[in-house]
């Protein structure tokens, strides 16, 4: 919110600099996002009086002027402007000055124009960055001619045209709608500086009138207060310079005095106002009601809206005349010929205004204030009084005695009854009672109470204050957080901290993969539905049944992940495009399944791995085996057909009978589509399922009495016989065989067409007696026999 320094000074005698005030506001909870010095780009521009104007000897269009710049001396300025004259008071940019020019900053240097020295330049209003609202005549075509008495020769131009000011752009937190105005901030400033707060003039007359414009509020919940007042004898004109200038400083253009008054009150007190032309209020009546479905209104900016029941309307006896809290209707707007005005100062429910403003895409300074909250007690009443005062001050109308005031409920004085000790208990320090009392008093609380008892009547504009912790906050932010003395949980019980065992295992899982050479990735939890198409997932694939974001940023981030592989694939593509030809990545993250019944959508942890460039299927599989080893999992692998994996180089991962993931080479067709020249391997594991089988405790077994023995075995089998089949056959054949590990595969025509030799190292565990050669021979023969019988394998 923009607050001009000069306007604040009207309410508080500020005797510190703008920068100092910025710091004080910051430490009291008001961050000044930007402190804008006006006229900072207008340097070394002085007021000068033209003493003499002569035609340029060599140029018809140029005039050579002699200018008295006071203590800056007499200067000769050559100008092309035609509105200068002898005796005129003008801004002179001296040698080295800066002025604004076409959106940038221009430096002015002395130099010759057609052979005649010009020691600077006369400035237009535009070059000073001002409009008519700042200074009358600023928008004339030519040089800005200053009014007599506004400035002396030689003086800096900035004070003369109102550029000697600062704008505070303040971030007001959501709990302080009362500070969404100049006067609201002035209250805080007065409290901070411990200075008196000067209230604006609320006084006004009440001329007799016979006119009555009764107000009927049909929706008190949406309109807790509606104040209207009738002003007669209106002569619409232009508001005075000081008012237009203040509006301009806050970014609002002057329109007409009546409209400017409503905007002025909005900025000054935070109370949105509206002015109706009474002659266009049919039936001299105001009704606040919900719109009928499909009812239409044309707002001041000539846009037509078709309305719904949730939109609140201000209507006359026959038709809508304003969209409550958002914008007035075109049918009753103030025009130059308006002679009677009905002012409105109301409080509308913030949610109602917000919904209407958002649904219609129609926002205004008023709706912005109402959305943050305008309390019904102080603000509308004072806002109306102030507007009426300004009508009289500007002399643009006669304030009559007729006013309507409809309140949904009688105002209740909120009183917080507590103790100083309770406030101190929140803070942990003892704040002197007189300090607490003084701070609260300065902030507008009426404080009473004997001894430790504290009774604080909350000022009506402080809707946010509800209990003693709020008072504690008011005290400490004024008293200063530097008074807080760090302590370390003096009174707290000892608690046991740290990760749960499930959390520790998750970390171990990640660490295991990192030790295998994989880098942990982090991807958004959402992606595009097109990612399913990229994976060639069929229309009925369960992965396509994703949780959809109802208000996504874009389609690219519109569905919650059901499978992690697409994110990983995107990572690989990005890496390869950036020239990272090899890499290994993993991610452990949730996938999401749509809600069933009243439940929240289900979350389920999965792990995804990718490997590209160097390495192959078995390198990736090695990482999964490392996981199995780290957590004592028994996993097996079998061929699988997945649409996004190479049919010959892909497997499903099984844990017992349960499928817990897949791994394989990215389908060459997809790789081609993504211009991936080197092979990419992907794996995805159901972490949640795996984690349920993670070995809970270390399972110690005593050492065997006798050492294990090993025998190597090479058999010739059919090409399609798998390692897993041979291994299973070996282990089934002999109880003592506890491991059979493939160490060589050999193919040769001498073995026969379509045959291969597989060599296994078999480890036998000894039982109650040592393994002797006879026993081992027995095992070996039994295994060979079984292999022959079951797989047609021949010993090599």
């Amino acid at each position: 919110m923009k607050v001009p320094f000069s306007w604040l000074k009207e309410f508080v005698d500020i005797d510190i600099t703008a920068e100092q005030l910025q710091e004080k506001l910051f430490s009291c909870g008001f961050e000044v996002e930007e402190l804008i010095p006006l006229g900072r780009d207008v340097e070394n521009v002085a007021v000068g009086r033209i003493l003499k104007c002569e035609k340029h000897p060599d140029a018809d269009r140029l005039t050579v002027c002699e200018v008295d710049c006071g203590d800056k001396g007499k200067k000769q300025i050559v100008t092309a402007a035609t509105n200068v004259f002898e005796g005129a008071l003008v801004p002179v940019a001296l040698d080295g000055a800066t002025v604004l020019h076409e959106g940038g900053i221009q430096k002015i240097k002395a130099g010759k124009l057609r052979g005649v020295l010009s020691e600077g330049m006369f400035c237009s209003g535009e070059e000073l960055g001002i409009t008519d609202d700042f200074y009358d005549g600023a928008e004339v075509n030519g040089i800005l001619i200053l009014k007599e008495g506004d400035a002396a020769e030689g003086a800096d131009i900035r004070p003369a045209v109102g550029l000697d000011d600062y704008i505070f752009d303040i971030a007001v937190t959501a709990n302080r709608p009362d500070c969404q105005s100049v006067f609201g901030m002035a209250r805080e400033v007065a409290a901070i500086l411990q200075k008196p707060l000067k209230a604006p003039d609320f006084s006004h007359g009440a001329a007799k009138t016979n006119v009555k414009i009764p107000v009927e509020v049909q929706e008190p919940a949406l309109c807790p207060r509606y104040i209207g007042h009738y002003v007669s004898g209106v002569k619409v004109g232009t508001s005075p310079q000081w008012m237009r200038r203040r509006l301009a400083l806050c970014g609002i253009r002057g329109i007409s005095d009546i409209v400017d008054i409503t905007n002025y009150v909005l900025l000054e007190l935070g109370q949105p106002m509206h002015a109706f032309d009474r002659n266009f209020l049919h039936g001299d009546k105001i009704i606040v009601r919900r719109a009928e479905e499909g009812e239409k209104i044309v707002t001041l900016d000539e846009k037509e809206f078709s309305l719904h029941r949730e939109n609140l309307l201000i209507c006359d006896a026959e038709r809508p005349v304003a969209l409550a809290g958002v914008m007035g209707g075109l049918n009753s707007e103030i025009k130059p010929e308006t002679t009677e005005v009905f002012f409105e100062a109301a409080s509308f429910a913030r949610d109602s205004v917000r919904k209407t403003a958002r649904a219609l895409g129609q926002r205004s300074d008023s709706s912005a204030r109402f959305e943050k909250g305008v309390e019904p007690v102080w603000s509308p009443a004072r806002g109306m009084e102030r507007a009426l005062h300004l009508v009289e001050e500007l002399g643009c109308g006669v304030v009559t005695a007729f006013g309507a005031d409809v309140a949904a409920a009688a105002p209740v004085q909120k009183i917080i009854r507590t103790t100083y000790a309770k406030l101190d208990a929140v803070l942990g320090i003892e704040v002197p009672r007189e300090t607490t009392r003084a701070i609260l008093t300065r902030l507008g609380f009426a404080v009473r109470g004997e001894g430790d008892a504290l009774e604080a009547a909350v000022p009506p504009w402080r809707d946010d204050v509800e209990g003693y912790p709020d008072l504690a906050e008011e005290v400490i932010r004024s008293y200063g957080y530097e008074h807080i003395v760090p302590t370390f949980l003096k009174t707290a019980a000892v608690t046991h901290g740290g990760l749960t065992s499930a959390q520790k295992r998750e970390l171990k899982f990640k660490q295991t993969l990192a030790n295998e050479g994989y880098f942990e990735a982090c991807n958004y939890s959402f992606y595009s539905p097109k990612d399913f198409d990229l994976l060639r997932l069929p229309a009925d694939a369960p992965e396509r049944n994703a949780v959809k974001i109802l208000n996504p940023i874009g389609e690219d981030l519109s569905v919650m992940r059901t499978i992690l592989a697409p994110s990983m694939l995107a990572n690989v593509v990005r890496n390869v495009r950036r020239g990272n030809e090899n890499g290994r990545l993993f991610e452990l993250a949730n996938v999401y399944a749509p809600a069933v019944g009243d439940e929240l959508p289900a979350e389920h942890k999965k792990a995804v791995l990718a490997l590209w460039g160097e390495g192959d299927f078995f390198d990736l599989k090695g990482a999964i085996e490392a996981i199995a080893e780290a957590f004592s999992l028994k996993l097996s692998y079998a061929r699988v057909a997945l649409p996004f994996l190479h049919p010959g180089v892909s497997a499903k991962v099984m844990m017992g009978e349960k499928e817990v993931g897949f791994l394989g080479q990215l389908h060459p067709a997809i790789a081609e589509e993504l211009a991936l020249e080197r092979k990419v391997f992907l794996a995805e594991l159901d972490y949640a399922a795996l984690s349920r089988k993670f070995a809970a405790e270390i399972d110690y077994k005593g050492l065997p009495k006798f050492p294990d023995a090993q025998r190597d075995l090479a058999v010739v089998v059919k090409e399609e016989t798998t390692c897993a089949e041979v291994e299973a056959c070996i282990l089934r054949a002999c109880k003592a065989a506890k491991r059979a590990e493939l160490f060589d595969v050999y193919r040769d025509l001498r073995l026969g067409a379509g045959k291969k030799s597989m060599a296994f190292r078999i480890t036998f565990a000894a039982g109650e007696k040592p393994l002797d050669a006879d026993a081992l021979d027995g095992f070996f023969n039994k295994i060979v026999g079984n292999l022959k019988h079951n797989l047609g394998a021949e010993l090599r």
């Binding site: 208990a425 929140v426 912790p469 400490i476 949980l489 707290a492 901290g497 990735a521 982090c522 208000n551």
Partner: protein
Amino acid sequence: MDLEQDDIVKEAEAAASSAEDSRALYEVKMQYLGRAGKVTALMKRMKDIAQEHRPAFGKQVNALREKLETLFASLETLAKAREMAKKLAAENVDVTMPGRHFARGALHPVTIVRNRLIDIFAGMGFEVFEGPEIENDYYNFTALNTPADHPARDMQDTFYVQGGLLRTQTSAGQIRLMEKKKPPIKMLSPGRVFRSDDDATHSPMFHQMEGLVVDRGITLCDLQGMLDEFVKAMFSENSKTRLRPSYFPFTEPSVEVDVSCHACGGKGCSLCKGTGWIEVLGAGVVNRRVLENCGVDPDEYSGFAFGMGIERIAMLKYGINNIKLLTENDVRFLEQFKD
């Protein structure tokens, strides 16, 4: 008879000197000392020698044997040393060639910082609680004193899904834990959060770490004391904190917490935009309504809560200047976080 001992020794020396390696030397040695060697042959002549000369002859032969044994022993030692030198010379490697090792990967910087944060607070007795990422309105907003028409809802742009919303803050974890567990509570709740915000400095998904302490007699001083400990452990031993007023619906009073700039020590630099302070987290005394919503008696217990963005801490700690780097997963970025 006299043995021409010296001649034999000389002859042996000459033969040995032409032996190229210890194997050839051994063969020469065998020609003299082997079973069919010359010395053995001399011994065999014993029987042809007169009885009275035998002892002297035997002595001479033995002396010759000893001489030759000594000779060959020293030659063998030399030969072995030569051979070792040759072998070593042949086995010379270029020690500046690269070594072989298995390249390790690394955890993501967000995980590293998250682990570090957990380490710091676990030591102070905080347990770690993870709530769901898809939340309902109650846990994300209402229970946190942010009812439907509350203006604070506009502070965070929320993603909605059928049946819920993507949590905008890990603060939701406060409620879920307090519903299950009664004070004393010291909890951390780390995790992903989501906001409908995607520009140069905002990601629609990032990580937060919420902290909550609820016990008897907890005050704002305890909050500051704990945060002081935290920033010392996280940033540097000289780090300081500064509290300043702010607003969150679920804390009262609410504060923003700044840490003294670790890059310049508080003098002012580009990292802290010349202020000497860096905003790191939001915190405050738990709002009584939040405790009530969880069935905790606010007259008996009080507490504080704090929340920080893990990415922000990581960016400050490592000097990462762009939040997008954290989700691009460029391996050249990730491999810098091996620790």
